[in-house]
């Protein structure tokens, strides 16, 4: 078990955002957090990342409470990728990906170790950004930028990768390549992935387990095929879906009814 949460609660002023959440996550798992807007899923992810403080309960990372980690030590274990693309900055792709090696910096000298540069090379070729290395961020398309963002996160060599709706702004081609890439990386490096997703079909294609959140409470959790059910989706999203089995992958997929024309 790499990560566990015991009775965590979070509220802003008096408004509860998360209420008594419990879970355990094992290494090399892919867990997706599903839920409607405002269900607290992004907040939950940010609590796991340690950048939002919880009001009650505790989150343990490798058996130690998350707030006990210095930021640098935490960054060696957890990388966090958000839906916002990297900002327009006057740096080359290579310079940005190298920033991912920051937590491993030993002396306080602003140069990189040989080992760091090797990992940057590995990540650049893995994410297919090696050809972009001398390009400026402002010259890249949305899909390319998100590839650079994932390269930056992977360069941290995280044991846990947190994804907050990472493909929101991408077309279906980039969405698929993005998730395929992550699954390949996971198999290679035994990474644990926790993702917040809007797209139930993508979640059920890629994740091992799902958490279902509504109004800050855990509705259900378990193996994806047991979570993505008619009752669960109706209960949490207030939508009546049509459920089908994916013809090749043997996972549930949903169709939406919509009003008749």
């Amino acid at each position: 078990m790499i990560l566990s949460a015991e009775g965590i609660s979070k509220w802003y002023d008096t408004k509860p955002i998360l209420q008594n959440i419990n879970f355990q996550i094992h290494s090399n798992e892919w867990v997706s957090i599903l839920g409607p807007n405002g269900s607290g899923k992004s907040t939950l992810l940010s609590c796991i990342a340690g950048s939002t403080k919880i009001n009650d309960g505790q989150i343990c990372l490798k058996g130690k409470r998350i707030e006990k980690y210095p930021v640098k030590e935490r960054a060696k274990i957890i990388a966090y990728l958000t839906q916002e693309a990297l900002p327009d900055m006057p740096n080359t792709v290579e310079e940005i990906v190298r920033m991912g090696r920051y937590p491993y910096k030993k002396l306080n000298l602003p140069w990189y170790q040989k080992e760091d540069l090797e990992i940057v090379e590995e990540v650049l070729s893995f994410t297919d950004t090696a050809l972009l290395r001398k390009r400026q961020m402002s010259e890249l398309s949305g899909g390319e930028r998100q590839r650079v963002a994932i390269a930056l996160a992977l360069a941290q060599e995280p044991e846990i990768l947190l994804l907050d709706e990472p493909t929101t702004y991408l077309d279906i081609y980039y969405q698929l390549t993005f998730f395929d890439l992550l699954r390949k990386w996971q198999q290679k490096k035994q990474t644990t992935i926790i993702s917040v997703l809007h797209d139930i079909n993508l979640a059920s294609l890629y994740s091992d387990r799902c958490f279902l959140l509504k109004e800050g409470k855990m509705v259900d959790m378990g193996i994806t095929s047991e979570i993505v059910t008619f009752d669960n989706i109706k209960k949490t999203f207030e939508v009546e879906p049509i459920l089908m089995d994916h013809p090749y992958q043997r996972v549930p997929q949903i169709l939406l009814k919509g009003e008749k024309k």
Binding site: A75, P87, N91, Y102, P110
Partner: protein, 339 residues
């Protein structure tokens, strides 16, 4: 244009600085040839005592002060622009300038401690004023050092000290010319003591800031991503801010408020070397700032000889158009490429 290696820019800037300093040493009320300057500096030839005295006692310290002040201001400007994530930031944005101006004007008008401190009276008062202003800004901002609240506190402190300054100016009629000269910046009568005062601060401070270049690079990603990459954002920001502010205060206390250097030079360097990598940006801003101010100071001495004009006039007159042209060209290129 092919991108010149980042290292070679350093060599180029260094040679330019050397050349600018040589020329600055040769011009003035008595003209001395550049060969003679080099001969005197490196002790290669015997020059007459008068020339030697002009170079060693008058011009060389003045040129060194100009170089150190220019370097410090440009360096601090680069740090401020990155930390505040604001291209319009300069070393004076957090009220340091008005704080030190108030200090200097109090020193000039009151004459307090002039017997004890002598020539150091104005620098020490203006340094204290700058530190006071910075302390006010930090106290007002206090929690978390958010960029927005820093900038706003800067505005408030600036306004407050500007009010005091106006009050002091309106009260003193006799010293106006002297105050005016100080406010626009000047290197007249600066000697080796000033160099020794500036040198350790700008070199040690500059080196410490350079050590923070990796963090500064990461700050470009934004505060939250920087935290997730393992940077202690709050601690790093306050350390860098205080060092940059101290360097600025020292520079201003010696030379007065020289505008434009801290704002423009970092941008100029970024455009030239085509990267914002702080490992290069910091030392190169220092070198180019030094070149710019040494050159400007030389011009103040020769343009309206024998009258000397405040160096701030030159920096603005020459810096602004050059910068405007450069900016125009880069934005044109950028929009041209994207369409």
């Amino acid at each position: 244009m092919k991108r010149i290696g980042d290292m070679w820019w350093g060599v180029f800037f260094f040679l330019t600085l050397f050349l600018t300093m040589s020329i600055a040493l040769s011009v003035g009320s008595t003209s001395i040839s550049v060969q003679e300057v080099w001969g005197t500096l490196f002790g290669l030839v015997k020059t007459d005592p008068a020339t030697s005295a002009i170079i060693w006692k008058i011009r060389f310290p003045r040129v060194c002060v100009a170089a150190l002040v220019g370097g410090s201001l440009a360096l601090a400007g680069a740090i401020y622009q990155s930390l505040l994530r604001n291209p319009l930031a300069d070393p004076y944005i957090l009220g340091i300038s008005s704080g030190s101006a108030v200090g200097a004007v109090i020193a000039i008008t009151s004459g307090w401690g002039v017997l004890l401190l002598q020539g150091w009276q104005i620098p020490i008062f203006s340094f204290l004023g700058a530190v006071l202003a910075l302390a006010c800004v930090l106290l007002l901002t206090r929690s978390r050092l958010q960029v927005q609240s820093l900038l706003l506190s800067g505005v408030v402190v600036n306004a407050f000290f500007a009010a005091i300054l106006t009050f002091l100016l309106s009260m003193s009629q006799t010293e106006l010319a002297r105050i005016q000269f100080w406010l626009m910046g000047s290197f007249t009568l600066r000697d080796w003591d000033h160099v020794l005062f500036l040198l350790p601060v700008s070199f040690v401070g500059g080196f410490l800031l350079w050590l923070g270049s990796r963090e500064l690079n990461i700050f470009l990603l934004g505060t939250l991503p920087a935290t997730h990459l393992g940077v202690s954002v709050y601690r790093t920001r306050i350390i860098l801010l205080v060092i940059a502010s101290l360097i600025t205060s020292i520079a201003v206390s010696v030379s007065g408020m020289i505008g434009f250097v801290g704002l423009v030079i970092p941008h100029f360097v970024r455009i030239l070397i085509k990267t914002s990598d702080h490992r290069y940006l910091i030392p190169y801003s220092f070198l180019v700032g030094a070149i710019f101010l040494v050159g400007s100071d030389a011009l103040t001495r020769v343009l309206f000889e024998p009258r000397e004009i405040p160096v701030g006039v030159i920096t603005a007159c020459f810096g602004a158009p050059v910068f405007a042209i450069l900016l125009h060209k880069t934005t044109q290129k950028m929009t041209g490429e994207s369409s």
